[in-house]
Subunit: 498 residues, 2 copies
Amino acid sequence: MPPSLPSPSSVTRAAITLPILARAASTTSAGTAVTPNKPPPSKDHHVHTYSPEAFPLGYTVSSTHAGIKKKAGALDLGILVSTSDTPCSAAACMTRNVFKAAPVTVTSELLRNSNGRAKGFIINSGCANAVTGKKGLEDAWSMSNTTTSQLPPSGAQSDKEGTLVMSTGVIGQHLPISSILDKIPELIRTLDDSPKSWLDLSKAFMTTDTFPKLRAKTFKIGDRLIRMAGIDKGAGMIAPNMGPPQPPHATLLGVIATDAAIKPEDLQNALNYAVDRSFNNITVDGDMSTNDTILCLANGAAGSAEHGGRETEEKMKELTEKANPEEFGIFKEQLREFAEELAQLVVRDGEGATKFVTIRVKGAPTYEIANAVAKSVANSSLFKTAMYGEDANWGRILCAVGYTPLSPNPISPTSVSVSFLPPAASSNTTPLRLLTNGEPEPNIDEARASEILKEEDLEIEIDLGDGNEEAKVWTCDFSHEYVTINGSAEEEEGWMYD
Amino acid sequence: MPPSLPSPSSVTRAAITLPILARAASTTSAGTAVTPNKPPPSKDHHVHTYSPEAFPLGYTVSSTHAGIKKKAGALDLGILVSTSDTPCSAAACMTRNVFKAAPVTVTSELLRNSNGRAKGFIINSGCANAVTGKKGLEDAWSMSNTTTSQLPPSGAQSDKEGTLVMSTGVIGQHLPISSILDKIPELIRTLDDSPKSWLDLSKAFMTTDTFPKLRAKTFKIGDRLIRMAGIDKGAGMIAPNMGPPQPPHATLLGVIATDAAIKPEDLQNALNYAVDRSFNNITVDGDMSTNDTILCLANGAAGSAEHGGRETEEKMKELTEKANPEEFGIFKEQLREFAEELAQLVVRDGEGATKFVTIRVKGAPTYEIANAVAKSVANSSLFKTAMYGEDANWGRILCAVGYTPLSPNPISPTSVSVSFLPPAASSNTTPLRLLTNGEPEPNIDEARASEILKEEDLEIEIDLGDGNEEAKVWTCDFSHEYVTINGSAEEEEGWMYD
């Protein structure tokens, strides 16, 4: 079922970020005026809405305002629950930062105790519950356990299955835990599967985000129609490096819920694969957060294609990599593609971002080398400010290629070539070669360069000329607004957003 | 001979950077108005002038305008020559970037051919001679060889000794080599040892620098008075990681000339030690340049203390680490201290910088771990914008500590403490503790925090609580002006500054 076309949507922005954006608009030439409760016009088209049939079967969601964000009515607490009569597999990729937030620790332990099953998750925004000591851990456990104990019993689930927890927002502050616990009955009472509830849940994820990030898609495995919905959030402190929990280490938050049936260990493998090629390959500011978490839930509620929709009588058997390698392969690629789309939304909403830049490194001896070079360029402040300035500054690109931390460093300066590529949708898609085998092109078409650089989307292609492997990393530019957003003392909420 | 007190000085700023700064002043609230040919008022006190006796004996210097910078009369070419009748030892630490500029390659080869001796050096600003292929190498060799062949013969020097080369400025453009070669006779004719000539030479180093960076000092080894003068430049693309040449790998440029007598290999060892604890521990933007070079010259012209000044009849014997460990130790520490002062000037002139921040990591198991943690914090965009915003954001500090790339990572979250320290000169020097053993301090004095954060200089102390080693890294804040300076297409000169 294809989603309906994106349409403008009314979005509640957390009160906490409004003054900052308002200031950005008034102090930078690049800033755009922001109307409260709406994404800025330049971001509006990223808000998609979907028909009811687009969402995975067997999940209900709800959200509310628990007073964590200051603005009255701002959504800051939400839950998702599997209602499938088959067990819900759960996998997670979490931050490798040494300082992992309490919810990261609790979610890891829940997954370990249940062997990769879960009832669903609870999320709050506005407070990261990070660097909060013992009380922080107690609070995260309370959120989880209170939700689990109030959910109606399900024949598909055992006592071991719990409610996973995610938090995002200010670091170093305690959650207003009693306000949160008080809201759980309301959350459970209002659970449903409407498109509005899904969109609202995605709003409850937001911190400095300027738009809610919700996507849904459908695909087939054999004759079965599989549905997948995803939500994520993040705008700053984005340079994730996430691995499976154990040891648990992730403020990018995201969840992908599908009605496919997948064994837990296979779901974890598929998620690792997808996250390594999507969320772990985006960067806004090179800062890896204490809370980064991507959850993946697979509840097996998908009916056969013949049933076409809500009917779920004929259940899928759980896919495993071993027994159904081909079908599993389809799922894994679909998951990777979906994760890539969600990850790119975070870059598009990067703090102060005006450009979406793909760094593609090809001709590398290994994927790891290609990836390291792409990340070195994607994180270079000089490169990112040049993109903001629409400056064809290949010198800064080369410079960042040259200081990639590789040991030993296999890059040969005389075999590196660099091109700028316009977006696929532009009227002239001819790439512009800037450097060939380490020598600058003699007569670069400056007009063409500035044409490409004026595009919101562009791709930098770096050919190392030394192999067949390639990697892609997505980044944004570094603007005055980034400094405005992060250089304000944010006195209202104190401290920081993770 | 102590230097005279710093006094305001008239400084020629390269034409190329004027439009950028002018724009910065008009577009950012943090910008300060800049008068052409003068450092901005906030930087003026960093320009020091010295009496003639402050400079090392046996060196002459000169500089001129060779038309590399566009502004008429802007100094962009200079030389320094040893006139001592004892040989001049030379050592260098150069960039580890894979793309090393032609002058880096040529200087490495000159030092190898001469076993660490040199006649002096030639430097140009305005063009980096980087990524310029074969012609770039030929040009760098011409600059060196033409100077060497026109210098008057010296009894102290063999044919093997050459003139070292340094370049800084735009990457990817060829030098106007004939204009440069045409100016060499004038440079040689106007060589002298006056304070004005030294200051002019430091102006010939400048690119996006807002003030010339010249320092001189004297100290004693035994009864001998040793003099040391240093010049450096750099404001952006500053995150040096320099090692000895061979393999040669550096746009921080600097030179330290002393009249001490030191064997070449010992000079190189002393320079490695000093650079690792000074220039390699500064960062402006985390971008390691293609041209970074620090030269050190030691010509043995120092007379005995009795002679007190210009007389040089009684020559020093060359110091060696083996034969004079104690005296060598004094030299090495003096060199490190001097290098630290020069390195800090670059951070003070960091593009758009309004703060000078020392990150001190103590309680570490090894120096390398302390250093890696300090650099992780010093390069965090979120930390640097928080400093610009005078925001006591220890969450961002912890976050950067937590993602330090260490494998295995020995940091225990529950043993890390963080304090803010005001500058030693402030009226209240009491540190402010923010975090103790991984738990936030319950009642942080916000007024005190903002008092410390208002200071131009401040220190962040991170105690890992796991050993006795420590490291210091110096960084600046990330301001709107940084984005303005680097986010402009700089059409006038095209491309980039290294």
